[in-house]
Symmetry: C2
Subunit: 484 residues, 2 copies
């Protein structure tokens, strides 16, 4: 027994020792993990570091105002509202900061005035009536304002303003001071809030500004690009033979997963558009830039991403059509997928560079032509010798989904064209080559022979544009982006 | 000329008159519109009205505390922090209120302690060093805390706490008071915040509580039901002949649109799950109810909704297969769609009533069997006489998507079963009929003959359940829901 217990003790001791020995290592590992995470956060978006420093600067400045006696004598305890305002109002983007600052300032002004009125009214009603009337006023406005916050449109833009309205009204109206002191309180609160909010807005605009509008603009372009990457890679991935497969296993397939971020981008896009609507003109964006049109493009992009999600399930499906069956429509499908991808990439780069998306139209037409090809291929009794429809179904579904994606691309292209005309995107200078010539040069011979209607303009998407705008084969990313 | 100008004047006058005449009518119309909107908001969720009243009550109570002299003498201007806390902390659900209240309280405690320390340290460094050191401290903690708010996990749960941490630290550390007054300030701020937060939490729990957990629970069940409604209606809608079509045009087709809400439910679900994790045990939910499992079910439901979105585009597509072609697979497809719908409805009702989803397994098996039927039908050379594959494609795609939906349903069923076993959902009492008997009674004759494996249990989803649990054909909504 004693041997057993001493053995147990030994075991416990050994475990403790090994735990203590491992502790520094574990702590170091944890610290390393946090450091790595911090580094990644900072590298993913260096503006995060700038933003943190900006908040620090704004707060230090306003805090010292609060600390120094002369200013403190002027504002008294109310000076702390300046500090509170900076902490609460300073947001990542200029739009969010401006929106919150304006909401806070205007709500304080309005609620202060009403609060002084309510206080005065309650004062008139005598010693007993006063608290009852005050309580009733506070209840009424709090309940009403809280309910108003449920209206979706108001919630989107003025939620914070209503919060501050309730706050200020309650604070001012129930303050147990005399009338002139109340006025002073309201005045002090308003001016300190204005000081704090101005500090936020000025620092947020002057030091490395982060514009929500620009973020939305880039996000929409990036989302289209992600779909484009998937579509450009899909053909090769789906139709690769098993021998190809092993060779390319190592190479990066992240482009097949990227589109998943697009599926759930709605809330981000909506809040960015909301913030953007508060922003003044900046860079290439006017004050009333059509941000809503971006949301429309975003919705269509998501719609397309749903199709792509369905499509991607056929990449890894257990039930695969045999290579012989797949090879029959390989060319047409790859062509559709590639052209849709190119069109989306051109649209993305047109949005990014704020130029007319004229070069995308060609790819949309090409993809339509390829879809036409595929349809006639399917109509031609290609699979007559295959009696097993089940074997054809995966391929047929992929074909059908790709034809669906062509429709989605067309709608996205229409929406981008609408944006380009509403936001006056720049028209690209015509090249020396005539439009027809440059088109014919770029159309692949096979498409040219099989479907001459590739070169026919389909009208729809670019209606409203000048007749003689050119189509340049290359996306215009280079110097345009440098300008921005 | 004079006639013309007098005519113009007359026209202007008439317009003004008609505008003024129409003004009351327009105002009335606008008021009516707002009233209708208010009524709708209140009817859609009557808890909104209760919530507004609750905020009013809490604020009136705390305001009067602020107003009355004896309490005011105790706390001074700090009493307003109680009002501020109520306005800022009181959220719609108990979880959100608790989370904000705890965040605010703990952050104030921690930042207060650190702020007093920082103030003391700065005090030691002399008249010139003090503001510099203070400014440095404020900058350092504001910048660090702001950056920490970018960590996704921290943002989800402690974002508000960090905001209050920055706020309190700055307020306390830079207050230009003597050391003992600083301690008092910190103490007052903490106690008034505790008063405000407690008022919020107590009122939010005692008067008509709104539990975020319950909302999440119901939302997940509702989303499954919406998909079920679509699937149950899809067969009839897609395969209806044009004569049927005209007759049923008037009847409500909202069930075909409902699923669209599911597509973008991710952010709502995530914030509800976050709030729910703050909530104490309530109703049928324990403190550590597996809310994350709900998110998993939600994600799978969304995945299924993407397929359904693709499916729905074939309902209104221009390219439709001819009725003859469609009729060939009508029975199998309708069966799959119907059984998947039934399975989802049973799963939804099992989640809603917190009972084992045993009755859903039967429908999942049925849908699998129907998918098998469809596959063998397609394999049998059904469309041999149709050389035009293009005409078959829409139907083939619908078939393929439906087979895909069966897989989605299976995965949702697995996830619900996992939830049922983790959260200890109640096992339904066995009925007098033996399981095999009850099964055979419910299986439709056609399925019984063509695929006897319907009655074979597939194992997977319900592993971990007792072997002899029964399968009741009817969903168990009635008395269970009344209990909740």
């Amino acid at each position: 027994m004693s041997t057993a217990s001493s053995e147990k003790e030994m075991l416990l001791l050994t475990r403790c020792c090994s735990f203590l020995k491992a502790l520094p290592q574990r702590l170091a590992a944890k610290a390393f993990e946090i450091a790595a995470c911090t580094k990644k956060l900072a590298q993913d978006d260096p503006r995060r570091v700038t933003h943190s420093a900006k908040v620090g600067v704004a707060l230090s400045l306003v805090s010292l105002v609060y600390y120094y006696q002369p200013l403190y004598v002027n504002f008294g305890v109310s000076a702390m509202w300046a500090v509170v305002t900076v902490v609460v109002v300073f947001e990542f983007s200029v739009g969010a900061t401006l929106g919150k600052g304006l909401n806070r300032g205007l709500a304080t002004l309005l609620a202060g005035a009403l609060g002084v009125g309510a206080h005065h009214l309650a004062n008139l009603s005598g010693h007993i009536g006063e608290p009852i009337l005050l309580g009733f006023f506070v209840f009424l406005q709090a309940a009403t304002s809280t309910f108003v916050r449920f209206f979706p449109k108001i919630k989107a833009r003025y939620d914070y303003g209503l919060l501050i309205f309730i706050l200020t009204f309650s604070l001012i109206s129930v303050s147990g001071f005399r009338d002139d002191e109340i006025l002073e309180l309201a005045h002090k609160r308003l001016s300190t809030i204005i000081i704090g909010a101005s500090a936020c807005v000025i620092i947020s605009i002057l030091i490395c500004p982060v514009w929500a509008g620009e973020d939305l603009h880039n996000l929409i372009a990036l989302n289209m690009e992600k779909l484009a990457n998937f579509l450009q890679g899909f053909g090769g991935e789906y139709f690769k033979t098993s021998e190809d497969g092993e060779g390319t296993n190592d190479h990066d397939k992240s482009f097949l997963q990227e589109y998943k971020n697009v599926l759930n981008s709605k809330s981000t896009e909506e809040s960015l558009a909301n913030f953007a609507s508060w922003e003044p003109c900046h860079g290439h964006f006017q004050f009333r830039h059509p941000w809503k049109q971006y949301l429309k493009i975003g919705a269509l992009t998501r719609k397309c991403a749903y199709r792509i999600d369905t499509l991607s399930s056929y990449l890894n499906s257990d039930v695969q059509a045999s290579p012989e069956i797949r090879s029959k429509i390989q060319e047409a499908c790859t062509e559709i997928s590639l052209e849709c991808g190119k069109a989306l990439k051109e649209l993305s780069s047109a949005v990014r560079t704020m130029s007319q998306p004229s070069s995308a139209d060609r790819h949309v037409s090409n993809s339509k032509a390829a879809a036409g090809n595929l349809e006639s291929l399917l109509r031609s009794g290609l699979f007559e010798d295959t009696h097993d429809l089940l074997a054809v179904i995966p391929v047929a579904t992929v074909a059908s989904l790709l034809i669906d994606v062509v429709g989605c691309t067309q709608r996205i292209s229409d929406a981008v064209n609408e944006l380009a005309s509403v936001a006056n995107f720049e028209t690209v200078k015509p090249t020396a080559v005539s439009p027809e010539q440059s088109l014919l040069e770029d159309v692949k011979p096979v498409a040219e022979i099989e479907c001459p209607h590739v070169v026919v303009r389909v009208g729809g998407p670019t209606s409203g544009l000048p007749e003689n705008y050119s189509r340049r084969p290359e996306p215009l990313t280079g110097n345009k982006q440098a300008e921005m």
